[in-house]
Symmetry: C2
Subunit: 246 residues, 2 copies
């Protein structure tokens, strides 16, 4: 049993957004895939969890990059379990540029399990393979701070969740939340800046047919914005993005 | 140089839609990834094409399944180049259930290249590695027929293309078109039926900020529907889906 798990990939043009970089949702998807790969190897993957009647749910993700990902380059996502308690498992990541042989970013994620029937939190403390895999490796980025956003900004967008947004747990996919967060800003914003850090907190599940309202507001610090998605009357997702000029 | 290229995968719960199968857009994405893998191996991948100022564009995809994909099973997508002329490259696929060791579906795709500057069609006939790879293997599903749909049905949906929908070519991603086609029907339709065959023709590019109108109409034959996406006044995507009861 390996305490770290590596996922190597090349950023191809086909993977990229208009800026020829990995988008937030693609990076988040790779992070989830890498976590899934390690969990499978440890015997606590989605499929095993579902056999116990529970399912992994990503609760928070924070990514900080020292440089943007670039098309044509080879990267390694390395993951490890940093901590575990009854309700949460903390899993960290390093993003290594394999051509330059150096880390270009880190990620912190917090996972929960939900009971597929009752939708209440599942107990993680009995997952021995996970507690046995805990290792203390450096992850030199700040943990996710509290994101406060009393209301959606002036420019409110709306979207009704459809069939393609629904996952095996019958709630909206992480990809869709990440895309809605991304879409709080116009294309021009991404042409002029790249995203240096993003923090996303998934607060409540949204469901098929619900209409989301989402938008962003600038914080006091230059380039820093908060964003949120409400689904109906429920706060669904909170995010903070740090943009830095290209 | 291999004339066929294989992409093996396990359908994990994390990959699945609400019906615990691969969605149309995930299947289409795997097909594109497999095509990309083979093209890269042949030296005519996206990155090489972009160095020539042209870029691969998927023009048509048809998929027919004898049984739905299922969570937990191992599959192989095998692809090969079936034909090539100046404007089009025809690439076929077999989807093999590795556990049962039998094909459970086939796909036909038609690819074009566009000039990244002029947006006019690129010339494929000079791509020797591609013509050298042509092989005649069985693909026992009908080629894509002409899809006719004079207008969008009564239930028109609207969607404005946002940042997360835009690819490296600065047009809307294949994934988004496939998801909008999927979303022409309610969740209930997919609970009662699975998609036995889908044909999608990508007619014109849609762009950032354009508003799409999309919807479906029943054809004369039971379970057969046509769907289309218009972007502004332009017909963008046509599709035909064959549903069969579960």
């Amino acid at each position: 049993m390996e305490r770290t798990y590596d996922y190597d990939f090349i950023v191809t043009a086909a993977d990229c957004n208009a800026q020829r970089e990995l988008s937030i949702s693609t990076l988040a998807t790779y992070i989830i895939d890498t976590a899934t790969g390690h969990a499978n190897e440890l015997g606590v993957g989605f499929d095993h969890m579902i056999s116990l009647g529970i399912s992994w749910v990503l609760s928070r993700v924070s990514v900080e990059l020292t440089e943007p990902t670039r098309v044509g380059r080879r990267y390694r996502l390395r993951t490890w379990v940093a901590s575990l308690n009854r309700l949460f498992s903390e899993r960290n990541f390093a993003l290594i540029d394999l051509d330059a042989d150096k880390p270009v970013g880190y990620a912190r994620t917090i996972w929960m399990a939900i009971n597929m029937e009752t939708r209440s939190p599942g107990d993680l403390s009995s997952l021995q393979p996970l507690s046995g895999a805990i290792i203390d490796l450096p992850c030199p980025i700040a943990p996710q701070g509290k994101i406060v956003m009393p209301e959606i900004g002036d420019e409110v967008h709306e979207y009704t969740f459809a069939v393609s947004d629904i996952d095996v747990n019958r709630h909206v996919t992480t990809r869709r939340y990440c895309d809605l967060i991304t879409d709080c800003w116009p294309l021009d914003m991404y042409e002029r800046n790249h995203v240096k850090r993003f923090d996303i907190a998934f607060k409540h599940e949204a469901h098929y047919g619900e209409t989301a309202r989402y938008g962003a507001v600038a914080e006091a610090e230059e380039g820093v914005y908060a964003a949120r998605i409400d689904s109906g009357d429920t706060l669904c997702t909170l995010a903070r993005l740090v943009f830095t000029p290209r």
